[in-house]
């Protein structure tokens, strides 16, 4: 299982969490850390998220759709540009709408547990890794 793999801090996959609900944000952080990911940033708004990106280059991001200062999509666009894998984690039934805008992104509806979110992240990473491999061939 992927979360059993122990890696050095430098090798760990870096994750950004953007979630305006403290409890949920903390929960996800703990889940990610439990799964061996490095949570490089926690934010409750697009503004804070973008501020984090000034210093960090996350591999993946778990984004609530609605955050403190509106919808998360400007942050998502920036992440997409950087090649960050995105999981939208939301109570909104917006999967169709989001997958139309962000075809590469995954969607994980609230409420969720660590296994679901972890599987989702792993599948996403694996898929993109395959694609990258195919491209390098």
């Amino acid at each position: 299982m992927a979360h059993d793999i122990q890696m050095a801090k430098e090798d760990k996959i870096k994750v950004l969490i953007c979630e305006d609900e403290i409890i949920v944000s903390m929960d996800i952080m703990f889940m990610m850390e439990d799964l061996g990911y490095d949570v490089v940033g926690q934010c409750a708004s697009v503004r804070d998220g973008l501020k984090i990106l000034e210093n960090e280059q996350p591999d993946a991001a778990i984004l609530d759709v609605r955050v403190k200062d509106g919808e998360v999509f400007p942050l998502a666009r920036e992440l997409e540009k950087r090649g960050t894998q995105i999981i939208f984690h939301s109570g909104h039934a917006l999967e169709d709408q989001i997958s139309a805008s962000f075809p590469e992104a995954a969607f994980c509806p609230k409420p969720t547990n660590g296994r679901q979110l972890g599987n989702c992240l792993m599948e996403l990473l694996a898929k993109n890794a395959d694609e990258n491999a195919e491209r390098s061939h």
Binding site: E21, I22, D27, F30, K68, G91, K110
Partner: protein, 1138 residues
């Protein structure tokens, strides 16, 4: 030319119809086939009882297509109408206008038919026709002569078809009737006659051919009838010949000439037609008055025993001759003289002379004779009258032509009236010398009003110009030899054709020689009546008769006969030999004072019942000397005395008989009058019988109508009362009894005396009175006493047959049910209206057949149409406020509605201010009415749709939040589970934090949308842990953003639970000071100061889950948290905000 003919064709022709008893039937039969579209007008002259209103016009009007009207005077006669004489008046015509005339004569002598025909003839000439129908008497017979004379048409009903044939027969007897027809043929005959093209005045062919043939026609006529018309006025001849051609329906003069040559009868007819002239007793009576004064009176006065000789040439049917005879007779009577007067009346028409000799005239002509003479000189005979024999005996009628035959001589007066007018100039100028020859010097010539002596002023001097009286001047005149023997050759031709007509040419016609022979050489002859009265004599009679002047019986031959003859004479006269038989008594001896004469006495019966006695001498007269005077035999004397007795007895008998005759005549004349009244009554009776028949059928109809009405009144559910003008009850229906409890005897009672169940009795009476007075129908509502029932009362005027108001009709209609319905309907309507108002619904109605949309005000406003636009709009106009796309949507919806029976469409109306409005139209097809339509409502659904959208949004949000909540709780559980060691810890940790979140949620929902104050948040956080005495709060009024509420609450919660577990809210004595300040720039600084009462040393505290939560929450708030612990207390500081 053809126009002229057409105009002539359309020329109005007026048909006079004369009828009396039995006439109604005949008139109806005649006019039932008449067509109103012709140029004929009819005037009916009926003998009517002046005391009865006539229904003739009404009765005829139903039988004929023509318009029938009774004349009231002044009517201009128009084609296609029937004009009917009113009772008690005569009619005359002047320039096509009917005028009423008053009768100058007493009942029984009136002759309205003659009077009208004469005025009709004068006024209309050849465009006049007369028809004589059933009736007794002879009215019309002289009128038809006038019609005929002026060229009109005469028709008589076939006597066999007439109920009373007196009038048709009298008309026929004049031999002037053109047609004798059954009543139903008469109109056709008239139509045909007037349709003949010769009627057109200017028909040139006819006039020319007749003019060409006229001399041939005269020749032919002369050959057959022996009279030469060559020198008669051609205009008259042509007119009358044309008329015959018209009657016979021939084409021109040549055809007619052919007809004449083969048809002897037609020659006679034409001959008679040519001679028609109007004559009547005392025609132009004022002229006769002058004649009496200036001529007859002097003649009689100055007479010294000589015979007065009068000649009436062209006497026609003799009225003129009789008139003159009466005048003379009257003068002789008045002047008490005995004068022998001989009147010679001559004419060329033997038919007319026959009429004249009889002296029988229609009773109607009696009116022309002055009243004083009527009694004396006329005798009534069976609807006619006869001129008295004394007058008749004065006149000799004979066949003689003025211009052809030798004239009379030594005449005192010639009356030749209206004869010369028919003569042409040439003939006139030969006639006047003849008169000059005939009249003795100083004698008089009496001419007609339009005749003159022309250029013979040397022969005649004017005696009275206006009366046309002329005195013959002295001077010899030549015997008009030029006439004698002229064209005399074929005379026997006609005589032979007329053998059956017994001519009574009198001897004097042979001239002077004959007279002389009679006087001197022929046997003495006496002409006597059947009674022995002497009518005339020739020869010397003194040997046979003895003259006894002054004796009443002097005129009887039995008295005058000499002894010896008397018995034989009496015997012969008593035997009265039959006509043509001769009886002879031989060897008689007439003894006179001077001698004795042997003779035979021959008696010959004549056709008129008189007897000629001829004394034929057998021997020479034996004179006797005085000495020889024979003694009269006693037997002779006995016979003589017996005869004397007989004579006186006879005289008495005669007087008695005469008295009886007078009485009889009076009775007869009364009878005449009664007859004519009877006839009038008969006419009236016929009318009444017809009216009666009609009334019978009307009564039947009325009974049926009455029964209908009765049934209606008893069966109808309509409460109805009829009152008369005094408000008395006249009739009512059974149904009204529930309102007015009428009883049987209440008909005729005043309405206001009858009780009713109504409240408004006074108003009803008032309204009814108003209606009767004003004539306007009125409606009012009335209630019964309980108020439970309401009626609508309609009061209408009751109009009689003459449209005058004769009461009123009260009709009640029970309105209770209707009023309830009306009220319910009004309430329903109000509810509906209110509903529409509240819901702001508009109602519309679409009619597919006309493609129109009916909109109410709300609909118009919703569709953006001006308020004043009409309610019914073409569908295109109704949707014009919409943009093109929505117009199409709506129009399609309407188009489909007829098929789908339903319509539900929402369109958006873009308004001028940029706002848009959503309109929903919902409707359903309705085929229940005559016109198929779609009915529906329109409403503004903008707000409704908006709220639906919001609800949708909220739902989604709620869904999101619930899911969020689940995430929070599951996250919370996991977080607590990380650090807790016991289940109790997990439960407590989760429970308290969930409670904190719930409280902060409560705060955010408490005042919906309103910002939450910081003090409330703190108080809410602390309340589960401490009473108010355990803490205090201080700080400005600051609000918390809803986004910050949740992290802030968690931070405060962590601090509070910590204080409860380890601080001043728990085991340590002290107080909590919470204070905050807002230093600016949106920053907020909260100071959580736990002040211990006693010093207390904290142990080392590890950074647990709680402090991590506080740290992350502070991050979320973009804030920072610091903790400063000392033995005196612990101070936590939170600073956040932009």
């Amino acid at each position: 030319m053809s126009d002229l003919v057409d105009d002539e064709d359309r020329r109005l022709c007026i048909v006079g119809i004369g009828a009396s008893a039995g006439g109604l039937e005949a008139i109806r039969e005649m006019l039932s086939s008449a067509n109103p579209e012709t140029n004929l007008a009819y005037v009916v002259i009926q003998h009517l009882d002046p005391n009865h209103e006539s229904l003739l016009a009404e009765l005829l009007g139903r039988q004929t297509a023509l318009t029938a009207q009774q004349v009231s005077g002044g009517e201009k006669v128009e084609a296609g109408k029937v004009y009917i004489i009113p009772p008690g008046h005569g009619l005359s015509m002047h320039e096509g206008v009917l005028e009423l005339t008053e009768f100058a004569q007493p009942r029984g002598l009136r002759r309205p038919i003659d009077d009208f025909f004469e005025s009709l003839a004068l006024d209309q000439g050849r465009y006049a026709a007369c028809v004589i129908l059933s009736g007794t008497g002879a009215d019309g017979s002289s009128g038809l002569r006038a019609i005929k004379e002026h060229g009109g048409l005469c028709i008589a009903q076939t006597p066999e078809t007439a109920r009373y044939d007196g009038m048709p027969n009298a008309a026929k007897a004049t031999r002037m009737v053109d047609f004798v027809r059954r009543p139903d043929q008469i109109v056709d005959t008239i139509t045909q006659f007037y349709a003949h093209k010769s009627l057109a005045q200017g028909d040139p062919v006819l006039s020319r051919t007749v003019a060409e043939c006229i001399s041939d026609i005269c020749d032919q006529l002369f050959k057959v009838v022996g009279h030469d018309f060559t020198d008669y006025k051609p205009s008259t001849l042509v007119r009358r010949i044309e008329r015959r051609i018209q009657v016979l329906d021939l084409n021109d003069g040549n055809e007619y000439l052919e007809r004449l040559k083969t048809d002897r009868e037609e020659c006679e007819t034409l001959f008679r037609e040519l001679l028609i002239n109007v004559t009547r007793f005392f025609r132009d009576c004022e002229h006769f008055e002058v004649l009496k004064e200036k001529v007859i009176e002097p003649l009689v006065r100055d007479n010294d025993g000589e015979e007065i000789r009068v000649w009436v040439p062209g006497c026609s049917s003799g009225e003129e001759a009789y008139s003159i005879a009466m005048l003379f007779s009257e003068q002789v009577r008045l002047q008490k003289k005995t004068i022998s007067i001989q009147i010679f009346a001559t004419d060329i028409d033997e038919q007319m002379l026959k009429i004249a000799r009889q002296g029988l005239y229609p009773i109607s002509a009696l009116a022309d004779i002055p009243e004083e003479m009527r009694e004396l000189y006329t005798i009534a005979r069976e609807g006619k009258f006869q001129v008295d024999s004394r007058i008749r005996d004065m006149i000799r009628f004979s066949l003689h032509s003025v211009v052809r035959d030798p004239p009379l001589s030594n005449i005192d007066l010639i009356s030749c009236r209206n004869l010369l007018i028919y003569f042409a100039e040439k003939l006139q100028s030969s006639a006047l010398p003849i008169f000059h020859y005939a009249i003795r010097p100083g004698g008089t010539l009496f001419l007609g009003p339009s005749e003159t002596i022309g250029r013979f002023e040397s022969a005649f001097a004017t005696l009275d110009q206006s009366a046309r009286l002329f005195r013959r001047k002295d001077g010899d005149s030549d015997y008009p030899l030029h006439l004698r023997g002229k064209r005399n050759t074929s005379y026997e031709n006609r005589d032979s054709s007329r053998e059956e007509v017994a001519s009574t040419r009198v001897t004097w016609q042979r001239g002077l020689a004959a007279d002389r022979i009679l006087q001197a050489y022929a046997p003495a002859t006496v002409h006597v009546t059947a009674a022995g009265k002497i009518l005339g004599s020739t020869g010397r009679l003194s040997k046979y008769l003895a003259l006894e002047p002054g004796s009443e019986s002097a005129q009887h031959i039995q008295t005058l006969a000499r002894p010896g003859l008397r018995e034989a004479v009496s015997a012969l006269i008593r035997r009265g030999p039959e006509s043509g038989k001769r009886v002879i008594t031989r060897d008689l001896s007439a003894r006179s004072e001077f001698g004795q004469q042997q003779l035979d006495l021959i008696a010959e019966g004549l056709s008129d019942g008189t007897t000629l006695l001829i004394f034929q001498d057998r021997d020479k007269f034996e004179a006797i000397d005085d000495a020889d005077i024979e003694e009269l035999n006693p037997s002779d004397s006995h016979v003589q005395s017996l005869e004397e007795d007989l004579r006186s007895t006879r005289a008495r008998l005669h007087i008695t008989v005469e008295e009886l005759e007078t009485a009889n005549e009076e009775l007869k004349s009364s009878n005449e009058e009664m007859m004519s009244m009877n006839e009038e009554l008969q006419s009236t009776n016929e009318e009444l019988a017809t009216v009666n028949d009609e009334l019978k059928s009307k009564v039947d109809q009325l009974s049926v109508a009455n029964a209908d009405l009765h049934n209606f009144f008893s069966s109808t559910a309509l409460p109805l009362v009829v009152v008369d003008s005094n408000l008395h009850i006249r009739n009512y229906t059974e149904a009204v009894l529930e309102i007015y409890p009428f009883r049987r005897g209440d008909r005729g009672r005043p309405l206001n005396e009858v009780s009713s169940i109504l409240l408004e009795n006074g108003e009803i009476i008032q309204a009814t009175t108003d209606v009767i007075n004003g004539g306007e129908a009125r409606t009012l509502h009335v209630r019964d006493m309980t108020g439970g029932t309401t009626w609508s009362l309609l009061v209408t005027p009751y109009r009689g047959s003459d449209e005058s108001i004769d009461g009123a009709t009260l009709v009640f209609t029970n309105l209770t049910q209707e009023l309830r319905l009306e009220q319910a309907l009004a309430e329903e309507g109000d509810r509906l209206r209110l509903a529409l108002e509240v819901t702001e619904l508009g109602v519309w109605e679409f009619v597919p057949s006309t493609q129109t949309l009916r909109l109410d005000d709300t609909s118009k406003a919703l569709l953006g149409l001006p308020e004043k636009s009409p309610g019914d709009l073409p569908i295109e106009d109704a949707v014009k406020s919409l943009d093109k796309e929505h117009q199409k949507v709506l129009l399609d919806a309407f188009a489909n509605a007829t098929q789908k029976d339903e319509l539900d469409v929402t369109v958006t109306l873009q308004e001028a201010d940029g706002q848009s409005r959503e309109l929903r139209l919902f409707g359903r097809a309705d085929g229940s009415r005559r016109v198929f339509r779609v009915l529906g409502v329109i409403s503004d659904v903008t707000a409704q749709n908006e709220s639906a959208r919001i609800r949708e949004l909220m739902l989604r949000e709620m869904n999101h939040r619930v899911k969020n909540m689940f995430s929070i709780i599951s996250g919370m559980l996991r977080l607590v589970g990380r650090s807790a060691t016991t289940v109790r810890e997990v439960v407590e940790g989760v429970e308290t934090r969930v409670s904190a979140l719930a409280r902060s949620h409560n705060l955010s929902q408490q005042q919906s949308g309103a910002p939450v104050s910081l003090s409330d948040v703190i108080e809410a956080t602390l309340s589960p842990y401490a009473g108010e005495d355990r803490y205090d709060m201080k700080g400005p009024n600051v609000t918390v953003d809803s986004g910050d509420l949740s992290p802030l609450s968690l931070i405060l919660h962590e601090w509070a639970t910590n204080a409860a577990k380890y601080g001043v809210l728990g085991p340590i004595e002290g107080i909590l000071h919470v204070s905050w300040e807002a230093p600016g720039n949106g920053k907020l600084e909260i100071l959580w100061n736990e002040s211990y009462s006693d010093e207390f040393e904290h142990g080392e505290q590890k950074a647990g889950f709680g402090s991590m939560l506080v740290q992350i929450a502070a991050d979320q708030l973009d804030g920072s948290v610091s903790v400063d612990a000392s033995p005196n207390g612990r101070i936590m500081r939170l600073t956040y905000g932009a």
